[in-house]
Amino acid sequence: MALRGLGWLAVLALVAGVGAAFGYAPREAVQGNVQRIMYLHVPAVLTAYLAFALVFLGSIGYLLTRRPGWDRLALAAAEPGVIFTGITIASGSIWGKPTWGTWWTWDARLTSTAVLFLVYVGYLLLRGMIDEPDRRARAAAVVGILGTANIPIVHFSVKWWRALHQPATILGPEPSPIAAPIMLTLIVNWLAFTLLLLYLVAKRTEISRLEEQHAG
């Protein structure tokens, strides 16, 4: 099955990515090895954004066509989206403890990501509360569309809000300038996470389809 192949490909890519993160990528000069968390944190947030773009796509697709496949896509992308967002927050927080001394600062990216997390957890909660498939799909689609449209607005509002209260931190999550091995490791991990996301979305979609067949 193509799905199995995708799964194994994702596993392979993840092994390569983690291996690169620990073995190939250099020890960063300023932060030390703690910086390796970034090879998890940055790809995770990028993958989360991709997931929510898929939610947006599925939401619009359903409202326009009413084909259940679009709604299946939206749900299938939202679940891993929330997971990757959670991983982003957790890894960012864990990175922050030795670096900044606290588990949480109201740093612009962490805060924006936390808001994103809350929005899509709400999305999943909403879905859980409606049994009728069409109504559930429509309600979720509207919430999903607003949630995605809100992403840039949240980003800027939090960024400006932070600028008011704190000078720019010296230690950004990404080292700069970005050396080639670091960039390469980031890219490999990002690709691996993307493959994993696609696999999870496909698998979740398959489950939804099976469930509908059983119910129908």
């Binding site: 997971i83 957790a90 890894s91």
Partner: protein, 42 residues
């Protein structure tokens, strides 16, 4: 700066556990649905 490997492992470990748990949940559901759906020729 000290290396703080424990933090690195904690972050990766957490991510790995969560993703693995989610995947296992999916795989479990797919399996039970597949077993039920044998007669429908899925």
């Amino acid at each position: 700066m000290p290396d703080n490997w424990s933090y690195v492992f904690a972050a990766y470990g957490l991510a790995g556990v969560v993703l693995l748990a989610y995947w296992r949940r999916l795989a479990g559901r797919a399996k039970s649905l597949g077993a039920r759906g044998v007669r429908r020729g899925v």
